[in-house]
């Protein structure tokens, strides 16, 4: 397309002049008309395309601008007006859109109170606002971007995902993704009902004390496998029956000590009691 426009530009200076001089019956009139027509179409197309690009840039700039305003109003107290970080909050330069999508999209940010770790709470912004702030933070410096849908579709290999989950994630998040305790009041949250994009975001960005699992450690396809496994675990009930929250010996031990031993004590009393 570009090449065609260039050609027209070079001919445009000569052709209309010759057409005016010798009239419509000139042998070159058809050619001239063709040239003019093509020029008009090409020019209009080029103009339209440029306008479209300018609109996208304008929309993006508007989004970043809107995100900047939201950031200044809601986040800048701790992260600084330019996201450079303060004593109260880390720098967001290079944090990327995905980190914003995870932290704000799960309601962890804005932080309601300082504590061992940020808690998941009702999301404070609409997805459009989250996207705007993500665009603003991504505009500060390059960082992890929101993944394309095919990496969070959850249509991968659940068996491979299960093995990767057991090796990389299960020690903190529990083998069934039920979560677990960490040191000094921190905890690894349960993963049931978490949006796949947030699971992906947590792996890539390593929020708070979670280690980073970059695409060089677990490829996007492997991350999709892990998401597939987590969705499988949620959608398929435990084979062993009532899983008691999948918390392992804690809930199972409590259950058997209270109800199992309780039943044994009850039977013993009934055995030795005299009949009425």
């Amino acid at each position: 397309m570009n090449r065609r426009i260039e050609t027209h530009d070079t001919m445009a200076s000569t052709s209309p002049a010759s057409a005016r001089r010798v009239g419509r019956r000139h042998p070159l009139a058809t050619t001239a008309l063709l040239v003019v027509g093509l020029l008009a179409t090409g020019g209009a197309y080029a103009l339209a395309t440029t306008t479209a690009t300018a609109e996208t840039t304008a929309a993006s700039a508007q989004l970043i601008d809107e995100g900047g305003k939201l950031f200044a109003a809601n986040c800048a107290t701790c992260h600084g007006m330019n996201g450079q970080g303060t004593a109260a909050g880390p720098s967001l330069i290079g944090a990327g859109a995905l980190a914003v999508d995870f932290q704000v999209g799960t309601g962890r940010m804005p932080l309601s109170a300082s504590g061992p770790q940020a808690e998941k709470k009702p999301v404070q912004f609409t997805q459009d606002q989250v996207d705007a702030m993500a665009a603003w933070v991504a505009d500060l410096a390059p960082g992890p971007a929101v993944p394309p849908d095919r990496f969070i579709a959850g249509d991968g290999d659940a068996a491979n995902g299960a093995e990767l989950f057991r090796i990389n994630c299960a020690m903190c998040h529990n083998v069934a993704g039920a979560g677990g305790a960490l040191t000094q009041g921190k905890w690894a949250p349960g993963l049931a009902g978490v949006d796949p994009v947030h699971i992906y975001g947590a792996m890539v960005t390593g929020p708070q004390n979670m280690p980073v699992f970059s695409d060089l450690n677990l490829t996007p396809e492997e991350k999709n496998d892990i998401i597939t496994y987590l969705l499988y675990v949620q959608e398929n009930p435990s084979v062993g029956g009532w899983d008691l929250g999948s918390l392992g010996p804690v809930s199972e031990g409590l259950f058997i000590w209270i109800f199992g031993l309780g039943a044994l004590v009850g039977v013993t009393i009934w055995l030795t009691a005299k009949s009425n």
Binding site: M210, P211, V212, N217, V239, K274, N276
Partner: protein, 359 residues
């Protein structure tokens, strides 16, 4: 007491009991009771059960008990029916749920029906009177005691057990020898090689590349971004034909990258890390659980079994819990292609203490 009773005839036993009873009476010239033994109160008056008094209730109990037994039969049949109706499909694990649940309910009804029915029968309908069974002396009569000694003597004389010493001694030798094969067999359950040497060395060696668990692909230093945690096995472990799990249990390593300014390195371990990348054994020094709960901001490593905590920024020093030693560090560097490699094996045995572990 029984001994005393046994030694005397019935008459003297009666006397002894009479003497005992005398002890409770005040001694001459002493105005207090010598012992404060509580007298036997005997049995409380028998309380009759409703089934003894009311024939209707008796009939009801009878029906209940037989109903329990019938329920048991139904349960047992149900278990067989459930086993056929809800087969386990190997490709669909969810079928195990229904199979196990109905099989379990059936067998439970079958067993509990019999048990509860039998107990209820004995409690509600069977003869309810209390009875006393006196204890009798256990000593045999003198005649039977003499006769049994005589039998031993006769057997000895007839068999020649004490006379034919060669036969007797060879028999004793044979009996003593029979457990020897068992000792040889069970001894072979222990590792054929010296277990101490096995415990002191792992697959890590100079130039062995660090590889991802489970794929076994080697890791480049440039791939380990700050805050990352990699679960690492030695390259070649994934392809091992035998003893793969044993080797993995010793060689498993956690690779982490900390900001260089947050990592405190000891003088003698200065060259053991690479640009903030450190590798530590994943086997807890307490009882050998895999320690992998890494917190990338506090640089704490938590063992899930007994809550031992290690500070990765300070050579995995123990900061909490029952572990006695820091986690062993694997000295690492990079090869000319940029892959992370081990400088040597661990410089101390990994995992929990053992008897021959020199401290």
């Amino acid at each position: 007491m029984a001994e005393e009773h046994g030694a005397t005839s019935g008459e003297t036993a009666g006397k002894a009991v009479a003497q005992q009873q005398d002890h409770t009476a005040p001694a001459p010239a002493i105005a207090v009771v010598r012992t404060d033994r509580i007298p036997n109160p005997g049995f409380p008056p028998e309380r009759l059960r409703v089934t003894d008094l009311d024939p209707k209730k008796e009939k009801q109990a009878e029906r209940t008990i037989s109903a329990l037994f019938f329920l048991s039969i139904i349960g047992s049949v149900l278990a067989v029916v459930a086993y056929i109706v809800f087969p386990i499909d190997e490709l669909d694990p969810s079928t195990i749920r229904l199979n196990n649940m109905f099989l379990g309910i059936g067998i439970t009804l079958g067993l509990l029906g019999v048990g509860i029915g039998a107990v209820h029968w004995s409690k509600a309908l069977m003869h309810g009177h209390e009875q006393v069974e006196q204890r009798h002396p256990t000593r045999g009569s003198d005649e039977s005691r003499e006769r049994s000694v005589e039998i031993f003597r006769e057997a000895n004389a007839e068999s020649g057990f004490t006379r034919r010493t060669l036969v007797r001694n060879s028999l004793i030798g044979a009996v003593v020898a029979t457990p020897i094969p068992a000792i040889a067999l069970f001894r072979d359950l222990a590792p054929a090689e010296d277990p101490v040497a096995l415990l002191k060395h792992t697959m890590w060696d100079t130039g062995v590349r660090l590889a991802r668990d489970p794929s076994g692909t080697p890791i480049k230093a440039s791939e380990v971004t700050i805050g990352s945690a990699f679960h690492v096995i030695p390259e070649g472990l994934a392809e091992l034909e035998s003893h793969r799990l044993e080797e993995k249990a010793k060689a498993a390593v956690l690779l982490m990258r900390l900001p260089v300014d947050e990592l405190n390195e000891r003088e003698d371990r200065a060259g053991w890390s690479y640009d903030g990348i450190v590798a530590y054994s994943k086997i807890c020094t307490h009882v050998g659980c895999p320690v992998a709960l890494y917190e990338q901001q506090t640089h704490n490593l938590l063992c899930p079994c007994h809550q031992s905590q290690f500070d990765v920024a300070n050579h995995c020093a123990v900061i909490f819990g029952p572990a006695a030693r820091p986690l062993p560090q694997l000295p690492i560097t990079v090869d000319e292609e940029g892959y992370l490699v081990a400088k040597s094996d661990f410089t101390e045995p990994v995992g929990p203490s053992f008897w021959e572990r020199a401290l």
